[in-house]
Point group: C2
Chain length 306, copies 2
Amino acid sequence: MSEATRRRVKEAARELGYVPQQSGRSLSTRRSRRIGIVVGELSNPFYPALLDPMVRELEAQGYLPVLIHDDGLEEPTTEPIFDGSFDAVLLTTTLLGSSLPGEIERRGIPYVMVNREFVVDRRARSTAVPDNATGASLVADLLVDLGHRAVAMVTGPAETSTGTERLDGFRDALARRGIALHPEAVERVPFSMADGAAATARLLDRRPVKAIFCANDVLAIGALETLARRGLAVPGDVSVVGFDDIPMASLSAIDLSTVAVDLDRLGRRAVRHLADRARDPEVVPTRVVEPVELRLRGTHGPARDY
Amino acid sequence: MSEATRRRVKEAARELGYVPQQSGRSLSTRRSRRIGIVVGELSNPFYPALLDPMVRELEAQGYLPVLIHDDGLEEPTTEPIFDGSFDAVLLTTTLLGSSLPGEIERRGIPYVMVNREFVVDRRARSTAVPDNATGASLVADLLVDLGHRAVAMVTGPAETSTGTERLDGFRDALARRGIALHPEAVERVPFSMADGAAATARLLDRRPVKAIFCANDVLAIGALETLARRGLAVPGDVSVVGFDDIPMASLSAIDLSTVAVDLDRLGRRAVRHLADRARDPEVVPTRVVEPVELRLRGTHGPARDY
DNA sequence: GTGAAAGCGCTAACAT
DNA sequence: ATGTTAGCGCTTTCAC
C-alpha cells in the first residue's frame, strides 16, 4: 500500500473519528492489552504506593491496568481473570494458602506476585518481593545495639509472606543475639493503621515495652498514633521501627525510622517481568528479590532505664 | 450429537471451568461492564482517597474499574475511552479548558466528572463536586474571627475548578469582611505536596504571614512541612487550614484543621449517577453538590502580635 | 498490491 | 422448549 494512501486513510479516519473497537480486536487477536491487578484497600496507603509505579510502568508498556479489589474479607471477583479480559495478572494480596495462583497457572495465564509470595513447593514462580528476612534482622541488630531488651513486634497475618517472614527474621536475628522474643510481645493483626494502633495498645497494657518493630509502616503509624494518644514520647519512651518506607513515613511530622524498600523499583520490575511473560510464554518464571536498607529517621533511640 | 458425547463435553467443560469470554460477549452485547477512570497521580494521597469509594461502589454495581493515568503533564491516553472499552467514564482531573468532556459527549458516552467541573455554557453536565465556595468562605470567616489579617493562600492551577473556586470563594468572603487578599499573598501551584511546600516558602519569604489557607490538604501538608523545617510553630506562629479532609489529615501527627468533604459519599454518589446513566441514556445529567463543613483540629489558632 | 472471506466467541432472533 | 443462525468488528488468510 502506498505511503500517500496510508496517510489519506489515516486522515479520513481521524476526521470521521473512527477508532478501532477493542472488543473486536480482542476477539480476533486474543490479546486485550489489559492487565488485571488484584490489589488491597486503596485507603491503606501501602497499596497506592505500590500501585503507582506499576500503573506508570504498565502505561509505558502499553497496557491498561484493571483493578480487582480485594478487601481481605471476602474473595475478590475472579471471573475477569479467567474470561480472557487480561493478557496477564498482577497479584499483590496473595495469601500463603490461596488457590488463586494455582488456578491462574493451570489456565496458562501469565502472572506475577508482588510483595507477596506463595510458597508451597520448590517450583519457581514469578514474584517480586523485598528481602524480608534481611530487613527484619537489620532492625533486630539495630535495636539490640541500642541496648533494647524489652522488645515487641506487631506483625501481619500468618497467611501473608510479609507478616510471617518479617516476624521469623526478627525473632531469629534476636535469638542470634541471645534475646528471646516473648510470645506475649508479639501481636498478629491485619495490615491496617487501626489494627496497628489497637495491637500497640494491647502490647503496652500487657508488659513493659521499650521498642516496637512493626511489620510495615502502616502498622507503625498506627503504633505512633497510640503512643501519641497515651502521651508516650517517641523515641524517648518507646522506639518504633517500620518496614517499606512508604512516602508518608518521610513526612517530618511522622519521621519514621524504617526498613526502606524501593517500592518504585519493585513495582516496575514486577511489571517488566510480567510484560516479558505476557509477550513470550516461554520466559522462565523469576523470583525477583529487592534489596532493603535501614532508613534511620527520628523514631528510634537508645534504651533507657535498665 | 450422541448423548454420551454431550455428557462428556459438558463434564469436561465443567471440570475445566468454562468461563464465557468477555470479548465475545462485549462484541455481541455492546456492553463491557467496565468503567474508565481518568485519575491523577496515585502518589498524591488525594486520588487514592477519592478512588477508594469509587472502586468499592463500582464493584457493588458490577463494574470493573480501568485506570487511565493522567499525570497532569502530557495528555492521557484517551483511545480506550473511544474504542468501546467502557460503558461509561469517570473524570477526576478535568481542566476548565479541556476538550475531552465535549468529545466524550459528542460520541454519546456517559460520563461524570468528580471533584472537577467543566464550565463553558449553561448546559447541565454530570458532575459531583464539593461546595467549594462555601468551604472557602467558612475558612475566611474562621480566620477573620480569630483576628487574622496577615492572610495568604496557596491554591491550585487556574484551569482547575477546585483551585479557582476555592480562591475566589476565599477572596470574596474576605472582602465581605473588609479584608483584601493581596496578590502577593496568593500562590498558584499544582496540587502536590512538594509544590505546597515550595509555595509556602515563597510566601513566607515575601511578606509576614500569620495564616495560610491551602486549597487542599495535600498542599496544606506541604505547607506544614516547610513550617516545621523552618522551626515555625503551628498554630503558634502560623495557622494552616486545608480542604478535603483526606484520611492523612486526621493523623495525630498532622492534626490538620480543614474543610471536610465527605469523599466517600462524593465518590459513591458519582458512581451511582454514572451507573444510572450507563443503564439508561435518557437519565438527565445532574450536578451533585456535596455539602462541606469545618473540621477544626490543631493547626489553627488566634492571631498574635498585632 | 488489492479485495474478499473466514473466523474469533458470544448473544439474540428466529425457526422448528 | 429446543436448536439453528446471523451478526457484533476486527485481523488474517487466501485468491486474484
